[in-house]
């Protein structure tokens, strides 16, 4: 036994596995690995002042008009899930990327990459859902493309979209605009999309099934802009969840942030599922929620405007922007202590015990 005790002191750990020669799934998680890919590959290759703002959409001035332009790809599995499908999700995701720039969404492209063997009935369902979602959001699909790949080369169906919208002159919403003293608003309860997908994928049955929150947020944004209140930044916390979005804003604006755990709405069934799976809801994806960074004196007015809208009924003020600790997001826990809300390195992993 004494040999083992002596051996304790000599233990050491292996060299780090910092670099990788191949793409890992974690590179698509929306966390630090994704940011790394952006910094090392895409930004050096395509760098320009518009791209380097790293917002969900580019704002382009063309003949005096300000256009918002965005693109997104959808690879969700399963293709149809509780609360939506890949078609409606593609419309909502693209519309939301435009809306977060304060744009009125106008036109979409739709490119479908289909796997050999996909049932046409599934395609019909998705296309119909795409059409209905676009029509409800009052956007037109004005161009598209179809490709078919061999069986095994994609998971049923992938969709790529682009979107164009128009932004009022003078409006500037960007992740680098947060200032100390600003308040952080959240439009509703979090983590529903991620849990709905996970539950379906893993065949987990809950007493009350969790529905994806997938929704187009542009009318909520319009209602917020109508108040004339000073909004600095809007973001929809999709992949990587609320925590990744807030960390990005804190880093881009070089500010700190403090959150109130108690103020962040989470539905009971979602909390239960997260507890069971060992997941932190702050890192779970949303597809119908937005975060707004707003001037302190505008916060209450905006909150009321959000709560009057069906997609913002559960809106809350969840935090404050600080000058201290730039880039760090800290949360006051329900116990009154504090803890860091970090950006995850890769995917959130299920816990072992």
């Amino acid at each position: 036994m004494s040999d083992q005790v002596a051996a304790l002191a000599g233990f050491s750990c292996p060299v780090p596995l910092g670099s990788t020669e191949r793409v890992l799934l974690g590179h698509g998680s929306g966390g630090k690995l994704s940011a790394d890919l952006l910094q090392k590959f895409f930004l050096p290759a395509f760098d320009n002042p518009i791209l380097s703002l790293l917002d969900d959409q580019a704002i382009l001035t063309v003949n005096g008009s300000r256009l918002a332009f965005t693109t997104d790809s959808f690879v969700v599995k399963p293709l149809v899930f509780a609360g939506g499908d890949i078609g409606s999700l593609a419309v909502h995701g693209t519309v939301n990327d435009l809306a977060m720039g304060g744009a009125t969404p106008l036109f979409l492209s739709a490119a479908f990459i289909l796997e050999e063997g996909l049932p046409l009935e599934t395609l019909r369902h998705v296309v119909d859902s795409f059409r209905k979602a676009a029509s409800a959001a009052r956007v037109h699909v004005v161009t598209g493309d179809t490709k078919v790949v061999e069986k095994g080369c994609c998971d049923g169906m992938f969709i790529n979209t682009s979107g164009i919208g128009i932004v009022e002159n003078g409006l500037k919403l960007s992740a680098d605009q947060a200032r100390p003293g600003d308040r952080v608003l959240l439009s509703g309860s979090i983590a529903e999309h991620g849990i709905a997908i996970l539950a379906q994928r893993e065949g987990l049955a809950f007493e009350s099934p969790v529905q994806s929150d997938s929704a187009a947020l542009h009318t909520l944004v319009a209602a917020m802009l109508e108040t004339g209140a000073e909004i600095r930044c809007l973001r929809d916390p999709t992949r990587g969840g609320l925590s990744s979005t807030l960390n990005e804003i804190a880093a881009r604006s070089r500010v700190g942030m403090t959150l109130e755990e108690r103020a962040i709405p989470i539905r009971e069934e979602v909390r239960g599922a997260c507890e069971m799976l060992g997941l932190d809801p702050l890192y779970v994806a949303n597809e119908g929620k937005l975060v707004a960074i707003v001037a302190a004196n505008a916060a209450e007015r905006l909150l009321q405007a959000m709560r009057r809208h069906p997609l913002g009924q559960n809106a809350q003020i969840i935090g404050t922007v600080l000058a201290e600790d730039p880039g760090l997001v800290v949360m006051s826990t329900t116990l009154g202590t504090t803890r860091i809300v970090d950006m995850l390195a890769g995917d959130q992993l299920p816990r072992i015990c």
């Binding site: 799976l277 116990l335 299920p350 015990c353």
Partner: protein
């Protein structure tokens, strides 16, 4: 949420903390064994509640952290076989072996899959009769019965393509090792509530009397842990050493007997290597001879792997409670969750990762 909210209640937590402050008159070093408990302490900032006299150090109870490097290397080697599907819990995929990890193995073309329950590994075996399914099974007494059940079920069904690469560890021998160490500082233990749910708390009576050390079986919520700390402080202040059970809503003296029987049926106690600690006698579980057909190490004729670990991180002292993660010069600098030097930085329940993820705003100022 019932059974959760009352154990995260601010008022009750503050009340317990006040009682601890009132009671404590001298410094004491307490260790929580389980990584899940470490996680709760960090996530809820329980250190902010405690008086300076109470020092918490963090034990070796993160199963991912103590899985030997050789086991990870073997798993990567097996996963590289074209007819093998390697199945494990998500946490294990990110743990670095000597030169790679299972996520990278996956990116390099190995068939590696994540499951939530070991029984899912059996499903994969049933529906892929032409592939060899290797389940990388790790964990303490908590996860071991379910893993045992998988092998037992595979055996019963005659599934010839299901194999287990196992690294199971037992808590009491590790506590015994810590207590026998000449540089031990720990004066009281919070025993792991979930391990005790399975094994019963009677297992710890022997340790209490042998070493005259107070042990309190604790739960995993903030109020559980504060209450367990209070119970330990009370014993230490009164000069007592007893086994107490704070986690009464889950733990009984005898534990989950059918689970223990399943363990007994499938596994036998064996010496086991712990990463960061070395081989501890009788501290692990290996498959019994009658299940040899499912033992990956035997079936795949795996050669002993010898791993070299260059001296960089201090996880040995961290796992032993001699040092805090923040005592390490590499902490949050050369060692982060993206680039972990040692396993305690990899798993969310590892002490280093928990400090990094939740507390570095307090320790780096």
């Amino acid at each position: 949420m019932k059974y959760i909210d009352e154990y995260r209640d601010e008022r009750i937590a503050h009340g317990l903390a006040a009682e601890i402050r009132q009671l404590v008159t001298r410094p004491c070093v307490l260790m929580e064994i389980c990584g899940g408990q470490t996680h709760t302490i960090m996530r809820y900032g329980l250190d902010e509640f405690l008086p300076k006299e109470v020092e918490l150090v963090h034990g070796p109870g993160c199963p991912v952290c103590v899985t030997p490097l050789e086991t990870i290397d073997k798993a990567i080697e097996l996963a590289a076989c074209p007819d093998v599907t390697l199945v494990s819990y998500g946490d294990m995929l990110r743990v670095p072996g000597s030169s790679s990890d299972l996520f990278r193995a996956k990116a390099n073309g190995s068939d590696v899959r994540v499951v939530y329950s070991p029984l899912e590994a059996l499903k994969i075996a049933r529906s892929n009769p032409n592939r060899k399914i290797v389940f990388l099974a790790i964990g303490f007494e908590t996860t071991a019965p379910a893993n045992a059940m998988t092998v037992w079920q595979a055996h019963r069904e005659g599934l010839t393509n299901f194999f287990m690469l196992a690294s199971h560890v037992l808590v009491p021998p590790a506590i015994r090792l810590l207590l026998r160490s000449p540089d031990n500082r720990v004066q009281g233990f919070i025993a792991p509530g979930h391990v005790c749910t399975v094994m019963g708390c009677q297992q710890y009576e022997e340790l209490v009397s042998e070493f005259h050390v107070p042990i309190v079986v604790g739960g995993f919520e903030p109020v559980d842990l504060l209450e367990a700390i209070l119970m330990l402080v009370r014993q230490l202040e009164q000069g007592q050493a007893r086994l107490e059970n704070q986690y009464v809503r889950s733990v009984t003296r005898l534990g989950n007997v059918p689970a223990q029987e399943m363990l007994e049926k499938v596994f036998e106690i064996a010496d086991q290597k712990w990463r960061g600690i070395g081989t501890i006698p009788f501290s692990g579980l290996r498959l019994r001879g009658e299940f040899a057909a499912h033992d990956a190490e035997k079936i795949f004729g795996m050669a002993e792997i010898h791993t070299e670990e260059p001296a960089e991180c201090i996880s040995a002292q961290v796992l032993k409670g001699l040092k805090k993660p923040t005592d390490c010069p590499a902490f949050a600098a050369r060692c982060t969750p993206e680039n972990p030097l040692g396993a305690p930085m990899v798993s969310a329940e590892g002490a280093c990762a928990a400090y990094y993820r939740y507390r570095r705003h307090k320790v780096l100022v």
